[in-house]
Symmetry: C2
Subunit: 319 residues, 2 copies
């Protein structure tokens, strides 16, 4: 594509994503594409899942975190990394830091799901607990950053994180060259913008649909209003997708996404159950939102050849 | 290998398995190998799962059934197929028959799990119900066979079924050339004998371990006594593995298997739960028996590079 392509004007390029793929190759799993034959009668289309729920940490977050950590200079790396996250990014960044042998300071709200706190502790890192509001999260992270000189790795509004998440799209294009529609969940938009840059540069013929819970439809509203809209409520069961878009991710999404579709809570719950019953895969509700969107807007997918990305395997069990 | 190899003396050869792979290619899924990184601390070895729970019908049975049905001459095929099975072979044979456009007569005990009856009915085939004992199953099948001229496709004691199941091993060897230990479940022994013939011909350096529930340890006892031992009880939760060995499968297993290891009920239940919690995969208890055996006999697998085959995704839910 020429330099005037709309795809080349953003914070991340295809080249960044391809270099990320090279850099993180040995630290992440090339997750399988699973044929969802058991859902075909319901979905009305060919459907395969890109199984990021089988990724390290059960989420695509391993990609961006590894790219961010392994892109640091030795000098930067020696001062460690810091982030604030209630979700899968926390454990992903902790793991990447352990792999590189550097310090990770993980700020988490003290009401985080037990399983997510445990995932960080299992890596030998004690989370720094803060109040469960974004002001406390950010001020705590800034304080740690000032005290240690650690590099802040934002969960999605970070060029290297976006480039890392985009590597999932490179794998999809290799594993399913015949795909015509890709569906990915959108929270802060790190995955979506990385996927968009990769796909719309290499294969602009492929539709990329973003999937969002109707109760956290800030990306849908942002696209309509032309500016980043805040989340209005935070009670969707898809707790990984409650975040508003970032200043780096919104322009990419605004320019390149084909459509953002929303799913209702009951459909998300149903999709999570169908994944277990008919595909034999476990994903957390956030990860089932792409399937939920396909079920709720089935006519838009009829007869298509779809790859939907599922992610997030956290279950807060008593086991 | 020379013709005097111990592997060449059985009812099925590597060549049969390779031809089966060619024949069934478009009808079965080349199932993924999933990295069980989340189980590594528990298992003490590198562990990947060959995910036959993601196969058509959620079980490896699709392989043998398709090979048996598509190996029939047009004349044989025109008279249909018949089998008796309470398990995944029933639905697999029904599906293969539908794919070839021929009749399938499926004899099932009237107390079969609702989900297994439904799996056959969903293919448009009404199971022929019989009493829940092997005499009734066999006499009903024979009667149907005599009335229709259909070919009996036994669930495991059938050359083409064994060759079909062996194709799973060809895929494992391609997907994991570095594997040194393969663990497969054993019921009637169709899968195990097919895998043994493929692996021990191509890669005799690889250990093949069979996994059996301790409450249905007939294969373990058969290996000890040197003759096919009956099942003594039929109450293991791993209901797919209650069957005794067959006259075709026993000689292969007797000659080629490295070891048969048994797992207790509680370990099987625990393994089924661990698959869901730490690998995000659902398999029925029969399919989790290989993992159960690895947990119960961990020292035998320490430091190894293992591929364990999991299969069977039936859950008798009320959903």
């Amino acid at each position: 594509m020429s330099n005037t392509s709309p795809v080349t004007q953003f914070c991340v390029t295809l080249d960044d994503i391809q270099r990320a793929e090279e850099l993180i190759r040995t630290y992440v799993i090339r997750t399988p594409l699973v044929d969802a034959w058991g859902l075909q009668p319901l979905a009305g289309c060919r459907l395969r899942f890109k199984c990021e729920n089988l990724q390290h940490g059960y989420a695509f977050k391993a990609r961006g975190a590894c790219n961010a950590v392994f892109s640091l200079s030795d000098e930067e790396a020696s001062r460690g990394v810091v982030t604030h996250s209630s979700g899968n990014h926390a454990a992903a960044l902790a793991r990447a830091a352990v792999l590189r042998g550097i310090a990770a300071h993980i700020v988490m709200p003290k009401n985080s799901a037990r399983v997510k706190l445990q995932a960080v502790r299992a890596l030998g890192i004690d989370p720094i607990l803060c109040e469960p509001d974004s002001a406390s999260r950010e001020s705590t992270a800034v304080r740690v950053q000032q005290e240690t000189g650690a590099t802040l790795i934002h969960p999605f509004n970070n060029r290297r994180v976006i480039a890392g998440q985009g590597t999932a799209a490179l794998e999809i294009l290799e594993q399913a060259p015949d795909v015509d529609t890709i569906v990915v969940p959108v929270g802060g938009g790190g995955l979506l913008s990385g996927v968009l840059i990769a796909v719309k540069t290499l294969r602009p013929d492929i539709r990329v649909i973003a999937a969002e819970p109707a109760l956290a439809d800030d990306a849908f509203r942002s696209l309509k209003s032309g500016k980043i809209e805040p989340a209005l409520r935070t009670d969707t069961i898809a707790d990984g997708l409650r975040t508003p878009l970032g200043t780096l991710t919104f322009p990419v999404i605004q320019k390149l996404v084909d459509e953002i579709l929303c799913a209702d809570e009951q459909v998300i719950i149903n999709a999570t159950r169908l994944l277990a019953e008919r595909v034999k895969l476990i994903a957390e509700p956030s990860g089932a939102v792409p399937l939920a969107v396909m079920l709720q807007h089935a006519p838009q997918f009829a007869g298509r050849n779809v790859v939907a990305l599922i992610s997030g395997g956290n279950m807060d069990t008593n086991g």
